[in-house]
Amino acid sequence: MIIEFFNYALNGALLGLLYSLVAMGFVVIYRASKVFNMAVGEMLVVGAFLVWWAVQSRGMHPAVGIGVALAISVLIGLAIERLLFRRLIGESVFSMIMVTIGLLILMRGLVLLIWGPQERQFPAIIPLAPLILGDLIVPRSLAAGGIIAVVCAAGLHWFFNRSRAGLAMSAVAEDHQIALAMGISVRRSIAFAWALGGVLSVITSMVYLSGKSLTFLSSEIGFAALPVALLAGLESIGGLLLAGIIVGVVQGLTAAYIDPLIGGNAAAVVPYVFMLVVLIVRPTGMFGWKRIERV
């Protein structure tokens, strides 16, 4: 019984870390550009299709194929900045958020036009055999995802809070106009944000989809990761790990113990309810910046 409980909790926590890796796509772009990117799920699918195309369809060696996918993904990120967000510097929250939603829908349409709706077998980049630690059974891809999430979070946390370039980008996230007045290039910061988002989406897609089937609907994980980003607060990278673990454990235990009772899929919606409650109590999430507003 107790072992079972720990197994559910551990798997939930690792799934939560995968969510926090996806949510890092939101936070990284937000921390460097003040744009909340709703299209994270679609970027992930595009990254996944690029890896699939290079490794499976073109038959490249995985290392080369991943390199090619990363390069194309960075180029797509830069193109998005050049075509869309360069013109939106200093625009309203509504415009920013709606442009990313437009981008989401556009990317979904383009993925359908280019690759079609068929299911594709994603290459098993991380071996499929589960890890067995005593009585606990953990899928290897989730374990690898957990480690990658912690490493990425540590690296990005250092970059945004300690390095000179990262602090300049934090200024952009606070206010475009003030950042411009301080001599920081808002354009370069946003371009960097989207390139980094492209890299993260390829990494995340390999952790998430390794050995599974890939369709355009795999982007749903972007919405599943939303509560994690909001719970942590949009500005905090380290907080994502904690928020991811909380959401993952709550979801894992709901799926194990409550879903059989009500015979429905409560696990899918519990993170949202949890997020609503937290936001009503603490509107900026657990570690978000509190902004002081003046007229």
């Binding site: 929250v93 442009v99 349409g109 949202y272």
Partner: protein
Amino acid sequence: MDPSGIFSTSYARDSALVRTRAQWLALALFGAALLLYPWLASPRLVAVANLMLVTSIVVVGLQITTGYAGQINLGQAAFMGVGAYGASVVEVKFGLPFWVAVPVGGVLAALAGWAFGLTAARIKGFYLALTTIAAQFLFVFVVLNLPSSWLGGVNGFSLQPARLGSLVFDSDRALYHLFLFSTAVMVFGAFGILRSRHGRAFVAVRDDDVAAGMMGIDVPGTKARAFVLGAFYAGIGGALWAYQIRFVSVDQFTLFNSIWFIAMMIVGGLGSIVGALIGTVLIRIVQEGITTLGPDLIEFIPTLSSDIVFASMNVFLGLVITGFLLLEPKGLMHRWNIFKATYRLWPFPH
């Protein structure tokens, strides 16, 4: 701006919606054309017009919440769904007539809107947009997981046609005038609300909520009212939709539909009721075009698969939203207003 020579001599004249004789004439002709439309158009086109009327009620509601009060709402389709389900339950389970069921649907949706308006009182910007997405997910979850004898679960719900005395509204042609009347009432109501104290409070909160609070406006109350009103419109629209399709299920009210509503509002122009109507009509025309032309296109170019319709809908919607926000963020009504000012001032530049 009024044409030269028109001066308001009383407050009533100054706040009038229709300001000149030419406008009265245009309105009368437009109204007559709308009334005669079902006898002039084919049944298919009447069905499309009904859909446009219902959608325009929903988009006018979204315009109040987002365009006027500035509260981003990505869950309008969920509120529409609450109205549709509310009206269907009242009709099917309690056997009440449609003129009770439709307002009940509206009121239920308004209650749901009130719940999310309360969060809007504390949360703003990105966070608010994302909590309204949560409304969308919660709606689907609740409908699918309640016992299927209550809301029909995955199978959805069928309705009887609406009745009024001996009149039975069982065809699109019969429903048309009912929908036209409802839309006219709702649109007129929206104009009235937005000219009132509440409408001015909405605009003040949209432009700067901190400043609005300092001027004595009850900011949380105003935000909650904006959500209640917008959701009420969505609920009425949803209830009428239920009577048109006579079948409701959750996949009619998805996040994707909410985004279509926002696109309609952006195309027309934020902060304009007429803009909401124009955007709805234009986008619906293009949607119909893609659905009708899609199959022909597949026959013409056989390499295209049948998913081309869904894919090109997505590409179109994405391009419309990003294109308008980048190139014409104030929408088509802004263009029209510039044109009107120019011809009224001609030959002077300003």
